[in-house]
Structure formats: C-alpha cells, structure tokens
Subunit: 221 residues, 4 copies
C-alpha cells in the first residue's frame, strides 16, 4: 500500500509539473527595432530566458523596426492578441520622437497618449496583464544634451502617468539608463555604454534590460 | 365610398411624402479646419444648403482644425457615427502633409492609407455611404513649385486608389483646384484665387467647393 | 592770473567731460526677436540703460526676428560693423534649434560653430570686443522635458567652448535661466516665469537679462 | 634661308601647341555627393574627359557629400579659389531641400539665394567664369508626386533667376532630367532611369550629365 501511495504521489507531482510546463506564462514583448533584435542570440529576450525559472515562461518577441505607438495599435490584433498572451510588455517611444527629426512623421504628444491608452485598453479587454516601459535613450550623454532628450523626457513622463493612472507595472528604462550612465559614463559619451549606436542595445545593454524585465515579471506572480 | 377611399389614398400618399421630408438625407462633412470653417455663414457647407433641393438634406459639419487622418479615426465614434449619418464626406490630408514641415508630426504615406481604410471600413459598417475628397492645396501656384506639391500629389493619388479599390465616389478637389487655377491664376500667385492663405477657402473657394459637393451628392440619389 | 588758471582748469574739466560724453562705449546687441523686442520700453536694452552709469554707454539694438547665426553673418556688415561698435553682444541660437522643428531649416551643429566663429573673427578684426551669450530657453520646465532642451544644451555648450577657446566673456543665460527657474518655478510651468510664451521675455525676464548684461559690461571696463 | 624660316615656323607652331597644352582650361566642379562620385571611373566628370578635345581641359572635382549652398560658401577659398580655376560649375541644391525632411536642417529659400549669390560674386571676383546648374532630382516620378518636387521646382527657379540676373550660363538639369524621364520612364518609376537611388547617378545618368556639361563648356569658348 505504501508503495501504491508513493506511486500515486509521484503521479500527482508529475501531473502538476506537466500542467506547469503545459501552461507557462506567455509573455509577448511588443515594440520596435530594439525588441525585434531582442530575440536574437544574446538579445535581451534571449538573455531573459536564462534569468527566469525553467519552464515557467514562454517569451515571444513582437518587435518591428521603425514602429511607433500607432503602428503597435494597427497590428496588435494579428501580432499580439492572436497569441493569447498572459502578459504584454509594451516598449515603444523612440521612433515617435526620433521620426520628428528623421522624416517629419513623429507622433504628437497628445496623440501618443490617445493611442497608448487605446493599446492598453484593448490588451486589458483581452485579459492580458500589461507592463509599460519608458523609451531608454537616443544618445547616452548624461548632461541632457542629446538632441531628443527633451522629448524623451516628456514622452517618458506621459507613459509614467498612464501607468500610474491605470495602476500598471512600469519598467522605467529611461531613468534606469540615465542612472547607469551617470555611474559608468564619466566621459559623457553618446554611445558604447549600453548602446551600440545611441539607440540599439550592446551586450551590456541587453543584459541590463533583461535584468529589468526579470524583476518586473517576478512582481507579477 | 369610392371617393372616400380615394381621399384616404391621397392622404396616405401625402403622409408618405411628409415622412420623406421629415427624413432628409443626413450628410456629415468630416475633416479639418477647412471643414470647421465650412459651417460659418458663407462657408462651403452653408453655401451648399442653397444649392440643394429644399428639405431633402441635413448637413452637419464635423471639422476640427489641425486634424490628420488618425485624428478622424480617433474621434469618429463620437463625432460622426453617433449622428447616424446617411452620407459621410471625408476631406482630409492637408495636415498629414503639412505637419511634416511645421511640427515634424506628419503622417507616413503607408500609415495614411492604413488609417484612411480603417475609417472607410468603419463608416461602411455603420451603413453610411462614404464620399472621398483629395486635399485641395497648400499654395495655389500652378507650376508645381508650392513646397508640399509633391506630397499632396502623392497623398491625393493614394486617396484616388482607395476610392477606386472600394468603388467609392470621389471629389477630386486637388485636380479641380489645379484646373481652376490654370485658368484663373495666370500670374502663378500662391494665394488669393480660391484660398485666403494658401489653404483656407476664400469666397470663390467656398462657392467652388460647394458646387463640387452638390454634384457628388446628386449622384448618390 | 589766478582767475586765468581757474578758467583754464574749468575749461579742461569741461573738455574732459565733453570727451567722455562724446565718446561713450558703443554697445551693439546683435541677435534675434528677443533682442528686437529688447529696445522697446521695458525691454532688456531699455532697462539696461538705467542700470549703467549715465553718459558712459550708447546701447544699440540690432535684433531681427527669426534670425539664426548665419543671418547674423550675412547682415553684420550693414547692421553692426557700419556702426563702429566698441562692444558687440552676440545672443543667438534659439532659432537655429527651433527652426528644425518649425520649418525644417534649423542649423547643423557643426555649421553653427563655423558661422559663429566667422562672426566672432570678423567682429574682432574690426576691433570690437565680443561678448557671447547662450540661448536662454524654449520652455521653462525645469525637468529637462521641454522639446528642444537637448539641442539647447548642446548648442549652449558649443558657445561656451567658443568663448573659452577665444577667451571671450560669456553671459551664460541658459544656465542663469535654469537656475532662476529651479528657484522660482516649483510647478514646472513651461512659461510665465521669465518668458511670456516659452521664448520671449516678460517683465521679470527683461529685468533679469538687463542685470546679467550690466554685470558683463562692468567687467569690460 | 627658306629652311631657316621653315624651322622657325615649326618652332612657333610647336611653341603655340606647348602653350596650349601648358594652359588648358581649368574647370572645377563644385558640389555635393553627386559631384563627389563624379570623379570616379564612369562618373560624369570622368566621362566628360572623353567628350572634350584632348589637352584643352583640366577637370577637377570639388564635391563633398551632404553639402548645401552654405557649405560651398564656407569652403570655397580652400577647395575652389586656391586652385585658380578658369571655370567653376556650381551644382548644388538637393541637400538644401532634402535636409528639411531628413534632419530639419535644410536651407530657407531666401537664405539659399543670399549664399548662392555670395558664392557667384566671390567666384567672379576671382575672375572665374561661373556656370550654374539646377538640382536634378530627388525621385524620378514624372507626375510631380516625388515628395520634394515642390521645393526642387522652387529652388531650381531661384537658380534660373540668379543665372538670368547675372547673365550666367545655366545647365538646367532639373528640366533636362524631367524631359528625359517623360520619354524614358513610362511606368512612373521613382529610380533606375538616370539614378540608382532617386538622387545619385547611374550609368545612363552619368553619361547624360557629362553630355550636358560638354555642351555648356563648348559655349564658353
């Protein structure tokens, strides 16, 4: 009989494990070129896997280069909702600001908020938990003399306000990157600390972002 | 008795006619500052009333200054669909192009099409007949040397393509304004022919647009 | 004889006074719309007169709205050198940055330096003492979230570098305005502290700038 | 004696030939990236050599990528006047227009004229014959729907006006490219007819420009 119960017990444990592995938390990272590169070997999503408990998470990249908030809005049905995510990490904003200078097609601040809130609302309606991120950097100089610093600070604040208003977890990468650079960028360089080219993540940057993402996912348990 | 029924029959016909006049065709003009001004005395919507058969149309202005195609998208529920229109005349595009230069927040051509088609689709889903218009002008010079001529020609073509693809009536104001100026603007002036300031309609412009709108509404009967 | 020498002495004193009043230090303020408004009653140049010793300075405004550094370069012969100034206060930069967003015709950072140095060189060749100023503000928010803060910080640093390299006195209005706002703008307002409209000076702003100018002129004696 | 005179005559002819070869017409092509590439094998300057009479011309390229009219102004002493040219062909304008959209640092139309005229004046003061060119294209579509067509048409007209006012030879490449495309670009393609990428010359484009340049140089004899 003892043996019998042991077998039963083992069976139950096995079943629980099976259920766990069968239903990991599905996380979609929804963003721009930074996230598109995040799924590559060494990218932040790739690195995040090794920082998370085995078999408990399924990480999906949904980043497309050049995307602004309304690009996310336009493609969210196909690229995010169709995947029935448990958690969606929205990381966008660099192009909304950058395209003002590079092609004249950036996003007005008030429209940025309107579309951002529409994205959040629609994700929540699909029962996804939503995590917001601020845009990290266009240039790593610490004296606020990167051309887009003013706008990045403004749009980051808009995202912080949306997070607060909707009681959503926030990964404040804008603040985190600046704090990191204040410590590790004494020469006020514009790139090479966490980015390769002022925007996209180098090895340290990918590791840094992976760690920030790991922390926020831990709070969602 | 026969006479009695005849009287009854005539009465019924009269009542039906009365019902017809009680339910004029409701037309919403959906656009930017040009349309916002169109409801003013002497504006194109105001002038259009006198060009249309009495009691058969209800004309509603839904123009807001500075609007781009995605502004229309964001506010169409409240400002258009809530009014249960029979016909919606969409006239937008000047700001999608102009804001590239004036604030860095114009609309990418591909996104212009995406949002434009989304607006059309949603209006049709609400059983409204949709009329498209091309953006008329930012400057009236006829030698194609107005700064935004290239973009206006491109975005107008995008609208023509959407009209054709969806078999929708089109008021090609871009072409109509150019044709008018080729006849009436021999000195290649940038304003003062149909506009006061290169964009907004003067008296002749309001009358001209009213006539174009009258023609297209006549075809919808 | 005593009377004779008294007369001579009085004559000499009179002559000296006459020379003094006949040769006040001629200061030209060379800049944009802020300086154009500076000569108005209550403007910073007007206020500066009452802060300076009587009869020792002649203050001339040479500001034109919308001017960028290369506008100054193009008109310096007529508007500044022709007036044979002893001192030229160059205050420019807001439009070099602002026009990037408002009309797509801002000034590249490297070209800003090239023309700025050309202006300085030409003024010095005409034996004028040159005073440099940093552009004060486009928005008074203190959290570096005014859209042009990044560029204003960068271009201000370029001017500081030119001042240092050429050993020229500098009125660091960018820094002074920020310091003032950090004390007097606790609500992070974008205007109304030293400016009326984020750029142009209100009463307090004109007084503040006049005081800064008074200080630098005092050091040139 | 006859022989003696024959020898003298031959000597004189030889001397004249020597003088000719010793003093070819020195032509500097002063411009942007299109001209920078023009000196490469197969580039328009390289091709022009074979179109010109042997030994009568020295062709010098002075093109730098990204240059606008005021870049030419700033570097003309070192890069053009120092070479004591007989003829200077000025070909600029694409970046003055293009940088409005690509970096917010295009050139205002009135400033374009100011600097252009300053370049012409300074070249003429150095006894160089000056040839003007209009900017050819940013996109080869023939229906005037290339984004910068409006501005390119305007700035080309400004150059035509300067040429006319100063009685200078003009190579109207804007018009020539459009005429060529109207014949050879029936599908309204944006590139591939005379350009590789809407701006820079392909093989046909380099040959076409070389021929235009050959024609204008022939008129200067």
């Amino acid at each position: 009989m003892t043996t019998f119960f042991r077998v039963i017990a083992l069976f139950c444990v096995g079943a629980l494990l099976a259920m766990t592995t069968a239903n990991p938390t599905r996380v979609v990272f929804f963003g721009d070129s930074i996230t598109q590169a995040g799924v590559n070997p060494g990218g932040y999503i790739d690195r995040l896997k090794s920082l998370l408990p085995a078999n408990q998470y399924e990480l999906i990249g949904a980043g497309i280069g050049g995307n602004k908030i309304y690009d996310l809005y336009l493609r969210m049905d196909d690229d995010v909702l169709a995947k029935k995510p448990d958690v969606v990490v929205v990381w966008v904003g660099v192009n909304d600001v950058w395209h003002k200078a590079s092609s004249g097609t950036g996003t007005d601040a008030d429209k940025f908020v309107r579309f951002y809130e529409a994205v959040v609302k629609k994700l929540q309606a699909a029962n996804a938990r939503v995590v917001l991120c601020t845009p990290a950097a266009i240039g790593e100089k610490t004296d606020m003399s990167n051309q887009q610093d003013g706008d990045l600070n403004q749009y980051s604040q808009l995202i912080r306000d949306i997070a607060k208003k909707n009681n959503l977890p926030l990964v404040d990468l804008r603040k985190a990157f600046l704090d990191y650079n204040l410590k590790h960028n004494p020469d006020n360089k514009e790139k090479g600390i966490l980015t390769t080219d002022r925007v996209h993540l180098n090895e340290a940057g990918n590791q840094f972002v992976a760690e920030q993402m790991q922390k926020v996912l831990a709070t969602l348990k």
